[in-house]
Symmetry: C2
Subunit: 318 residues, 2 copies
């Protein structure tokens, strides 16, 4: 399933993609409740859930377990009258008209991995690390699909980094690689935007990687059941239509289960936490000549089985 | 005022210190509401607030503005019958019996400053930085006063760092040093616990500074009105009763207004965010012989005008 968060007149609401449409799950639950078809949850059976407040993001849907969104989809696919009522009530809307947020609105933390593709290490004459190089990005840097990456005042060398991102679904501490998939909710795309001048100048990357709008994320969360092998995905970044990064996640040096085992040693990962797995070669700073982001640029990152994350770039004063 | 969060049978509740007692603000509001003395808020006058759910931490109280906790204190000080009712109802309890959380339960981010005392830079033969060295600590590392610092499996060189911490009270982006105090809620104490072996081995300090229990914080938030000059506070750390760090915040290389101006450039600080301002000399790793934390150790950090943060150390298997 593809789960997301969208901006609506009623605030941020969680959605499920159904073909070319997206279902506002809060609105759906209200309609079901109005029809008196409510079924309380039990331990084993996925059921419609009574809502207490709105579902805001993909994580709210993940928390109910995989059967719940699946059952909603099955219900709608088997009940065209209900589906049409949802359309009439503005609860099932064309995806193209929806304005999306990052799939998780407020993750507790974003951890990311440096030098995790051999070709990216090679392009900067860096050795491949013996253990994962872990750093964090400020959660205040998150923006959604279609949102602008705003060029900061304090840097002139802003670069892109296309990355596969993992969203944690269950609290994980000191878990083994063998069990790591149990703790994953699903996958999305992250652009690990980086100020190269700050990154060079400052020993720690908190600012170089953490400025506002430096973590575009989306367009949605693809639940793990839909991606049999996250290490066989094609990943591509286009800057103004020109391919700048093109690789496959099979080239990841440290695979996702290893990363979760490594990171979760003595460090608790919580539902909604994001691990961005690293970028392949082709970043702007090591291009010849170097390429940095400019006002008006458009960046599209596609990962197969997930989708496309598109963001424009605007100047500080825009 | 001294605002805090405490563990109670009703969950985490915000409290205000009154002499040797602490007031459960949620319980107080319920008593006031039950007496029919409710006053609705207006724009200018501080009033009792109708509660929708419990106040959980110091930030919940800060959000109502400085007049609100002050008015609650004044009300209780002038009404001994009400105060006694609060005591009878378990709403005003001895501070010594309260079990405290970190004053802000879930800050959006913890940013910290490296090498911000000249003597600490000198003890490691490091140059004083020309600009603040900013890094982040995982919010999952937070623990409260009295909570244990748990030695991790993956490090054998765990060290303490006593620090004055600033809690943000108002969203701050690209603010000037001259206006920086407007964005501060108050001050508390942070122990920037660090795995020295990981810090040496890994380029980024996300793990070395971010493992679980590596951010003891508290014992409470002292609102900024009580501290005329945060750069004149005596700071001391005792390990098992022996003074290991002893300095004053007047020795901070980058003062708090400069830090807020620097950090908030193109990076939004939100209410509850914590800035830990750096540690003075005397850390364990540069002691002769080096000292690292061991099972059973007790660490007490005192900062004048704030109080004492005490934590014990326990082994991984304890």
């Amino acid at each position: 399933m593809r789960l997301l968060s969208m901006k609506t007149e009623r605030g941020n609401l969680a959605g499920i993609i159904m073909g070319e449409e997206v279902l506002d799950v809060t609105g759906f639950c209200e309609i079901i409740e109005g029809r008196g078809e409510w079924v309380e949850a039990d331990n084993d059976t996925a059921t419609y859930h009574h809502i207490e407040g709105a579902y805001q993001d993909a994580l709210d849907l993940v928390k109910h377990g995989p059967n719940w969104p699946a059952r909603i989809i099955a219900k709608l696919e088997g009940d065209s009258i209900l589906a049409n009522q949802c359309r009439e009530d503005g609860v099932l809307v064309p995806l193209a008209k929806a304005s999306l947020n990052p799939p998780v609105l407020a993750p507790g933390k974003i951890l990311a991995v440096g030098l995790n593709y051999a070709a990216h290490a090679a392009e900067q004459n860096a050795q491949q690390p013996e253990t994962p190089l872990i750093f964090s990005k400020c959660t205040t840097a998150l923006v959604g699909p279609g949102d602008a990456i705003r060029l900061p005042r304090i840097s002139e060398k802003i670069d892109y980094e296309a990355e596969l991102a993992v969203v944690i679904g269950k609290e994980a501490k000191s878990v083994t690689a063998a069990s790591a998939y149990d703790f994953i909710a699903g996958y999305t795309i992250m652009n690990d935007v980086t100020a190269r001048d700050l990154q060079r100048r400052e020993r720690q990357w908190a600012r170089a990687k953490g400025l506002d709008t430096f973590a575009p994320c989306g367009p949605w969360l693809v639940t793990k059941d839909e991606i049999a092998d996250p290490h066989s995905l094609a990943l591509e970044l286009r800057l103004n239509g020109v391919v700048r990064q093109s690789s496959t996640t099979s080239d990841l040096i440290f695979k996702i289960p290893q990363l979760i085992e490594f990171i979760s040693q003595d460090l608790t990962l919580r539902p909604g936490d994001i691990i961005s797995t690293g970028t392949p070669s082709g970043v702007g700073v090591y291009s010849d000549p170097p390429v940095f982001l400019r006002d008006g640029d458009q960046i599209e990152i596609t990962i197969s089985s997930i989708g496309a994350l598109v963001n424009s770039v605007i100047g500080y004063e825009s």
